[in-house]
């Protein structure tokens, strides 16, 4: 483990983040978008943990941040799913492309 520098941990996390971005932009299903968002949030969590562990092991701020971030992510997801379910009830469809009645 001593042979693996911090960059090798962060870069996969960044890849995960970018996958999330890709997913958000390309997926049509709103829940798929939500899943992509989870990837992004998760990648941030990894960052905090890794930075904490590698750079500043003296304090546990990064870890605590991750801990709270997980809670926040859960809350966000719950609310987002509620909204998506709600809209499914209203229009029987959760395709994000159809949600463009308001524009310009």
């Amino acid at each position: 483990m001593e042979k693996l520098p911090i960059a090798l941990y962060i870069i996969p996390s960044l890849i995960m983040f970018c996958c999330g971005v890709y997913g958000f932009i390309t997926r049509k299903n709103m829940i798929a978008i939500l899943i992509s968002l989870e990837l992004m949030l998760n990648s941030v969590d990894i960052n905090f943990v890794v930075f904490n562990r590698f750079l500043y092991p003296g304090q546990l701020e990064g870890m605590m941040f991750t801990l709270f971030a997980i809670a926040i992510a859960a809350a966000e997801t719950a609310l987002a799913i509620a909204i998506i379910v709600n809209i499914f009830r209203a229009v029987k469809n959760i395709d994000i492309r159809d949600l463009n009645k308001m524009k310009f």
């Binding site: 941030v44 966000e76 909204i83 709600n86 809209i87 009645k101």
Partner: protein
């Protein structure tokens, strides 16, 4: 473990108690009683607002939880300002909240609204990014629920989806930026970050850019603003007005704090120029979009985008004067924008119309509403003797205070943009007053008492807040007190 530290948080505690009381009242009172809950909430909140002013704000200086939470006169001031805004929003929404549709969700409306206010309090007082993020999310997530409140309207759903997805995305970006900050400074306490010496390499730039982007969402700075118009249009009017003034005001203040306290040492090097570009973009693009709008809510959305650009002039100045002017601007903006929203929601409740064309010749049927709207437009456009003039003047004077030519040019661009904004504000005035050959589709009616009270407060604010210099003077002196909580290491 000194739990007495909680007592420092007067306003937060008070607000939480208020939420609890509403919760209890909502749970145990009969839902059939008309107006009971809304009356109760508004009155209580009114008391809280007044209490905030009665409280000796210049004594309120404290740092608690190891520096995670601070309070100082200027923070009390901005919270009071927000309280005033929320109070007006509540007054104006009473009519809507008393409607049949809202009967079963009245309590939730007030609870969610006030919880977001609590989140904003936290944002304002937080001096640690974790607390700050929690405050930020508390201030934005429940709003998604509020945006989706109007279940019978499709637009409300669409707005809610756009809002929540963008909000989560932006918080992901924000937190990514924060993780870089953490990597560079090794701490999340504002003070310590400012103290930790880290170099200005690519990582720092990315970190600052992402943090600004995160704020950009809350403040609707261009190009992070695109959700704004759709959400404002789709959300219930009460929520829109709340979003446009309160949420923005709190974000602007905390943006100032973060930029100045955390990234202060990199002012001239990094974020001044980022902000510079953002301000120009925000003001210009906001104005350009507002030009064509026919839907008044959407119109005000774009107008509020460009107003955010003006508010940012206070941030770019980075001085105590800038901070004071920023708060003053927010206060005036609250009165002006809420006056406009008051008229819009009053008319929307009555007739369901929000398009500009139906306002043609409003003056003939509803002269008072038209007059209020006109005052609001003039104030937003910065016409003296209304408050908007003073706030614009002060924010501009703060912006050029550092005295660099670049800032003069920025101010000039902002000033030229005021002409465009004047154009579209006058369009509304023109519709109401000048198109007097056409028949007005809005019948003459009398607004409810609460709406009128709300509008009267706004009108009084528009007329007197600027003329009575004590308000601005005390805001500036508040901003100059206890500068260690904000201006720790600022270069200026």
């Amino acid at each position: 473990m000194d739990y007495s530290q909680f007592l420092v948080m007067h306003q937060e505690i008070g607000l939480l108690v208020l939420i609890l009381l509403i919760f209890l009242f909502d749970t145990f009172s009969s839902r059939q009683v008309p107006r009971g809950l809304s009356m109760f909430s508004v009155c209580l909140f009114g008391l809280l607002t007044v209490g905030g002013f009665v409280f000796p704000w210049d004594k309120a200086v404290a740092s608690a939880f190891g520096g995670m939470y601070v309070t100082s006169p200027v923070m009390v001031a901005i919270k009071n300002v927000l309280n005033v805004g929320v109070f007006i929003v509540l007054l104006q929404s009473m009519n809507w909240a008393d409607g049949e549709f809202m009967r079963i969700r009245r309590g939730e409306f007030y609870e969610l609204l006030l919880i977001t206010l609590f989140g904003m309090y936290l944002m304002i007082s937080a001096r640690h990014f974790l607390l700050f993020i929690i405050g930020l999310e508390t201030a934005s997530l429940p709003l998604a629920a509020l945006v989706a409140f109007d279940k019978n309207r499709y637009e409300s759903h669409e707005a809610a989806v756009k809002y929540i997805l963008t909000a989560v995305f932006s918080s992901a970006i924000f937190m990514m930026g924060l993780s870089f900050v953490y990597a560079l400074a090794g701490t999340l306490y504002f003070n310590d970050i400012a103290g930790a010496c880290f170099g200005g390499d690519a990582m720092l730039i990315v970190a600052v850019a992402f943090v600004i982007a995160g704020f950009g969402f809350k403040l609707s700075l261009v190009p992070f603003h695109l959700w704004t118009a759709d959400v404002y249009q789709g959300a219930p009017t009460a929520v829109t007005s709340y979003l446009s003034v309160i949420s923005k005001g709190a974000a602007a203040f905390s943006f100032f704090v973060v930029m100045v306290q955390v990234f202060g040492p990199f002012y001239g090097k990094i974020w001044e120029w980022m902000l510079y570009a953002l301000i120009i973009l925000t003001i210009t693009v906001g104005n350009l979009f507002a030009l064509r709008q026919k839907n008044l809510k959407r119109f005000l959305a774009f107008s509020s985008i460009s107003q955010a650009g003006y508010i940012m002039l206070g941030v770019i100045s980075g001085s105590a004067q800038g901070l004071g002017s920023l708060i003053f601007y927010i206060l005036v903006y609250i009165f002006s924008n809420l006056a406009a929203f008051g008229v819009i929601s009053s008319i929307e409740n009555k007739t369901g119309r929000v398009d500009m064309d139906s306002y043609n010749n409003l003056y003939s049927t509803n002269p008072r509403l038209a007059f209020t709207m006109m005052l609001a437009m003039f104030s937003l456009a910065g016409i003296p003797p209304f408050a908007g003039f003073f706030s614009k003047f002060f924010i501009f004077s703060a912006a050029v205070q550092p005295g660099t030519p670049a800032l003069y040019i920025l101010t000039l661009i902002a000033l030229i943009n005021t002409i465009i904004s004047l154009y579209y504000y006058l369009l509304v005035v023109k519709a109401m007053f000048i198109k007097n050959q056409e028949e007005c589709v809005i019948p003459a009616f009398r607004s409810t008492g609460s709406e009128r009270l709300g509008m009267w407060i706004c009108v009084a604010g528009i007329i007197f807040v600027g003329l009575f210099s004590c308000i601005y003077n005390s805001l500036i002196s508040a901003a100059q007190m206890n500068t260690e909580y904000i201006f720790t290491l600022f270069a200026n």
